[in-house]
Amino acid sequence: MITQVYFWIFSIVALATALGVLVSRHPIHAALCLIGTMVSLAGIYSLIAAPFLATLQILVYAGAIVMLLVFVIMVLNSAKDEHTPRWDAFGWAALAPAAATAFFLLRILLGADAARSFALRPTDPPAARGTVEALSTLLFGDRIGAWSFLFLVVGLLLLSAVVGAVLLAKHRLDDPAAPSTPRPGGH
Amino acid sequence: MVLVAPLAAAFLTFFLSGRDAASTLRTSLFLALAVAGVTFPVLFAGTVATSVHTWFQLPVLGTDIRWGLASDGLSGWLLALTSVLVPAALLCSPRVVGDKIREFAAAAFLLQATLYGALLSVDLLQFFAFFEAMLIPATILIAMFGGRDRRRAAMLFLVFSLAGSVPLFVAIWYLATVPVMSGHHVSLDLVSLQALVATLPPQARQRLFAATALAFLVKIPAVPVHIWQADAYSEGPAPGSALLTGIMAKIGLYGFLRIAIPLFPQEAKADAGVFVALGLVTVLVGALLALRQREARRVLAFSSLSHLGLGLAAIFTFRPEAISGVILLMVAHGLSAAALFFLTGIAETWSGSRHVDDFGALAKRAPLFSVLFAVAALASVGLPGTAGFVAEFLLLVALWKAFGLLVAAVAGTTVILSAAYTLRLVQKLLFGTSAERNPVPLEFPAAAAWAVAPMLLALVFFGFQPGPILKAARTDLLTRLPSAQALIVEDAPHVAGR
């Protein structure tokens, strides 16, 4: 019962903050709202037997990703972007497909006997099995396995992301500010 | 083998230096003659074929697509014609295409290769592949070397031809897939297709025949799908147009002889009236339009339309005279029309215009040119003593025998009309007064004379001695395809027997 209470609290907060992301004027507000969402989702994760995920959610998402976001927002201070209207006609119109998506997703998930079919049954496993031990055993068991291989791929992914970020954002020492002008001395 | 030779020539040409036009011309000419040297043995060898391999199979269905080459009298003569026209085109091209001779030669060789492929194919899809592939060099020829509006013309040509091949493509889909569902093992090679088609329901055969025929009608072209032709022939470079009308258009008739009719003999027979009517309409429309054209090459284009329309009409009489005559017509028209295009191309370089009124008095200014032009024109009119006469005579005989005097008479008006428009052209080009104020003698390139004169001699030779070509039809075509043979109409017991 208490689970339900928490769930409702968390979910309302999550939805509210998510809505906040949608409607807030300044990116920094939105980022703060996003942290709210992340955190409340972490709460929900812990409710459904995934404590490790809840931790990750807070550490990585709220702690790292959104912080990075905030950092960049601050760096680009001029990005306060007073010129860009928060809402325009298209913005309102764009809500319609999003709403429709939600409608159909819900309709299909809730429709017919689908919802019944994944109701929890007594045979279902107990709560709190997504512990660090369980997950790490699965990931890095005593043998080379599928998941550990995929973990290596994630490493590759991060590498490529870093290289890509460098490529996109780095100021080259030997790169003049206005590259379109012809470089002195040929090349 | 023969197919590879022009391809190799094309590639070799391509690597020649683009700068030195003269040496390029020499080399490509040598290559062209070499290709011809390889081709003629095939003609003289009569019926030859390579072994047939499976190209690929359609997954699931197991439809066999085969790959093989075969030549007989019909293909052989067209191959020979091609191998003659290509070097001739090269000889006549320097003035027309200027410094792009290398590209021109390469495109001509490519066209030759695809034509060879189509003529030698034993499999329907193989044929179709070459039939389509031919569009690429043909389009290049038009788009790259032609006149002001060449791109539009090339586009029209390309789109029209592609659209025209849609029905054939659909027919091939059908043949490749649907019969499988009723338990046949399907292979698309032409011999086994004949047996297969016979088992199809009549309605399907009817539609397939119509589809196949449409593709070839566009190629010939026949009215009303002819509108690409005049633009393509007049905007393209003249030697290129010569190749197009000289050989490529023949593939349409060849397709009827080799594919449409042998595969669907009953349908062909049932619909013969339609095609004869189409052919006759083409004859008349072509001739009437040729009468009014203001550009020399448009006259020639519509003249081609008219002549090949006669061939189309005659094929559908299914008479031995017609079959022989059509082959002869293809050779004769190939030579004479090509010669006219070559010469017109050179004349255009003199006047810098395509308009007939901008020529004139060439008889005085370029006598050799005029002689050649006049002979070619007369050959195209079908004057006795040239191959064109024998061909037209045979076709008229066939039409008369199959459909009576009235049809023959209608077709025969081409005799008058072709004389009318051809003489008009001759008059405008060779006679009258020059459009220029101070007409000076013009220099007619000797190379072109060397190219055209043998063609004209061949025309005269076949005019007196068409035996080899006629025999080819008789021995090869008619005996090779049983279904075609069954179609050939026996003579009605003549009047004395009644």
Binding site: A94, A98, A100, R107 | E321, A361, F393, V397, G412, P466
Partner: protein, 667 residues
């Protein structure tokens, strides 16, 4: 031994090649190719050819005479001896299906006579040309064309089957075209040439189609040779078949179509308009092609296929009436002409009408005889006219001539011979042949045709006399310019004129019944005899020949008198066009108008419609279609908006649509 017949056309053809080569490769030089050389060659080859013809013909002739003598000695009576013609098959020409045509030549007596005067007169006119064309830049070319013409004409006559004949038939048409348009810098000459070619082509189509039908009658397995045709039609086995209605209809249709071909070549109604225009060519051409030889090939064809025509009474009737009508109409038109050559051209048409008339009444031999005599007198008339024109530096209008007999006595003498022959004064060539025709017409064709023919003879005398008066006798009306340069022609022109002039006086004695000179008809008997026999030749019993000849002479004299009277009364006044008040144009252009209405304008209108309405519609349809596709392409590209949100929104809309589909599908 069979003579090498192929040499006959081959020799002039070689002449053509050499002269053509000379013309082609000499044209760059300053003075053009050597006139002497090409003139010499141009005359040499026809001459050799002529000699060969004479030799070949002599073979036949001697054979006949020997048979005759033999028959006489054996007392076998007067049965017409059958002389075996020379036949030389060179090669198989067309062989396919049931069609099997050999390329070969056949030299029989009809051919022989035709060839004799074709090559003979041909040689003379070549010689004449050497003088006439001496100053023309295209002399070698001219000789080449003439040689080519002669070669083709020989093929026409010599062919052993209609298809070979057709080859020559079209070939002479081509040469006619080339020669009419010889002075091609003038576009009107070209137009005349084209007209000649096209009108002939129309006739040729008839020839071909008629041939098809003929072939159908024979049975398509039969080889297409004259021998086979003659044998088939003469075979009594086929008589019943020929009498049956469908076959008779076929024969009639076939012969009518063949007749169309003949009218084209021989300038008869309805295809006669080209000949007057053809006078645009140099005068020797008019003499050789458009008077003596080519135009008579229609008559030749009728004679050649006489066995066929004989089985088509309707056609014969038509032939006769066409001949008569043409003769009369052309004679009347001749009255109103002012161009000396045009007068002669209409005169030719008129005389050709006589020939047709003769053939139409079944007197093929008489027709051919008239061809023979006509070749002489019309030849000399044209040559004389050419000489006059030459002398007057190109003046052709008879109204600006007159009194020339003093200035050009030799020419006058030669032309007088021709005039004498054509008007049919006694013992001239025309006298014999024309009166022969008149006689046959009266005998077999009936009085109506006879009267027309007789009236034509009167008119002929009128316009010919008018010509002579205006040119030679009346007061000089020369332009000063022409008068100052006037000169008699060179010897090369004179010799042929004399020979032909002489011929036009004596040629008629080849068949002069009153003198029992009939070798001409005897020689014709092998070719046309059976046909004439079938048509009931010799069923005489009419007025005596002498009486008829007298009537003919009276008619000629009447005509001459009328002409003289008219001249006296001033009707030939220099400003008037002729003795008739009817506008000359109406006569001259009558058939042009008919052609226009029947053939040319429909074609023009149709092609205009096709070119300006149908074709643009088709092209426009394709354009519109292409334009629509382009528009669709433009629209599709517009859908590719540049803004991210739009892109996303549209994509998500697609997703929503798919979700909607899913929902509809499973719920």
């Amino acid at each position: 031994m069979t003579p090498q017949l192929w040499l006959l056309p081959a020799l002039p053809f070689i002449g053509f090649l050499i002269n053509g080569g000379l013309a082609l490769f000499g044209s760059r030089t300053e003075s053009g190719p050597s006139r002497g050389l090409s003139g010499f060659l141009g005359v040499l080859f026809p001459l050799v050819s002529f000699i060969l013809v004479v030799l070949a013909w002599q073979g036949l002739f001697l054979e006949r005479e020997s048979i005759l003598r033999l028959n006489h000695d054996l007392g076998l009576g007067l049965a017409i001896p059958q002389v075996k013609p020379f036949v030389q098959v060179l090669w198989t020409w067309i062989q396919t299906g049931e069609l099997n045509v050999d390329f070969g030549f056949r030299f029989d007596e009809l051919t022989g006579i035709m060839l004799l005067f074709i090559t003979g007169i041909g040689t003379l006119i070549h010689l004449y040309s050497v003088g006439y064309m001496a100053h023309d830049r295209g002399f070698a070319r001219f000789m080449a064309y003439m040689n080519l013409f002669l070669a083709n004409m020989v093929v026409l006559v010599l062919g052993n089957g209609p298809l070979v004949t057709f080859m020559g038939w079209e070939g002479v048409g081509l040469c006619s075209y080339l020669l009419i348009g010889f002075w091609h810098h003038d576009a009107s000459n070209g137009a005349a040439a084209k007209k000649a070619f096209l009108v002939n082509r129309a006739g040729d189509l008839g020839f071909l189609l008629g041939l098809f039908l003929l072939w159908q009658i024979l049975g398509t397995g039969t080889p297409l040779t004259y021998e086979a045709i003659a044998t088939w039609f003469r075979d009594p086995v086929h008589a019943a078949l020929l009498a049956s209605a469908p076959v008779a209809a076929l024969v009639t249709a076939s012969t009518l179509l063949l007749l169309l071909g003949a009218t084209g070549k021989s300038a008869q109604i309805p295809l006669l308009t080209w000949l007057p225009d053809a006078m645009a060519g140099p005068t020797p051409v008019s003499a050789l092609i458009h008077a003596a030889t080519m135009v008579t090939s229609g008559v030749f064809m009728l004679a050649r296929l006489s066995d066929v025509f004989a089985h088509a009474p309707l056609t014969m009737e038509v032939v006769a009436w066409i001949g008569a009508a043409t003769a009369a109409w052309a004679a009347v038109t001749g009255l109103v002409q002012t161009d000396i050559k045009k007068i002669l051209a209409y005169s030719t048409i008129s005389q050709l009408g006589y020939m047709f008339l003769a053939a139409g009444v079944g007197a093929f031999d008489a027709g051919v005889f008239h061809v023979f005599t006509h070749a002489f007198f019309k030849g000399v008339l044209f040559l004389g006219a050419g000489s006059v024109i030459h002398a007057l530096s190109g003046e052709q209008d008879v109204r600006r001539m007159g009194g020339l007999w003093k200035k050009l006595p030799l020419t006058f003498a030669a032309m007088f011979c021709g005039w004498y022959a054509i008007v049919g004064l006694p013992f001239g060539a025309g006298f014999w042949s024309k009166d022969l025709i008149l006689e046959k017409v009266l005998l077999r064709g009936g009085p109506a045709l006879y009267l027309v023919a007789l009236a034509t003879a009167v008119i002929t005398a009128v316009y010919m006399t008018r010509l002579m008066i205006l040119v030679f006798w009346s007061k000089p009306r020369l332009s000063p310019d022409a008068a100052s340069h006037i000169h008699e022609s060179p010897l090369a022109m004179q010799i042929p004129m004399w020979i032909l002039g002489l011929g036009s006086l004596v040629a008629g004695f080849a068949w002069a019944d009153p003198f029992h000179l009939d070798w001409f008809s005897r020689h014709m008997s092998e070719s046309v005899g059976p046909a004439q026999a079938l048509l009931g030749a010799g069923t005489g019993g009419g007025p005596s020949a002498i009486l008829l000849e007298s009537v003919g002479v009276v008619a000629s004299l009447l005509g001459i008198l009328v002409a003289v009277a008219l001249h006296r009364s001033g009707k030939f006044h220099e400003n008037s066009t002729g003795p008739l008040s009817v506008p000359a144009r109406a006569w001259t252009f009558l058939f042009d108008g008919i052609h226009g209405v029947a053939g040319i304008w429909p074609v023009r209108i149709l092609s205009w419609i096709l070119d300006n309405i149908v074709q643009p519609l088709l092209v426009g349809f394709a354009r519109v279609f292409g334009w629509c596709v382009e528009m669709a392409g433009g629209a599709a590209r517009m859908a590719q908006t540049p803004r991210l949100r739009w892109n996303l929104g549209l994509s998500v809309l697609g997703l929503v649509a798919l979700l909607l589909l899913l929902a509809r599908n499973i719920l």
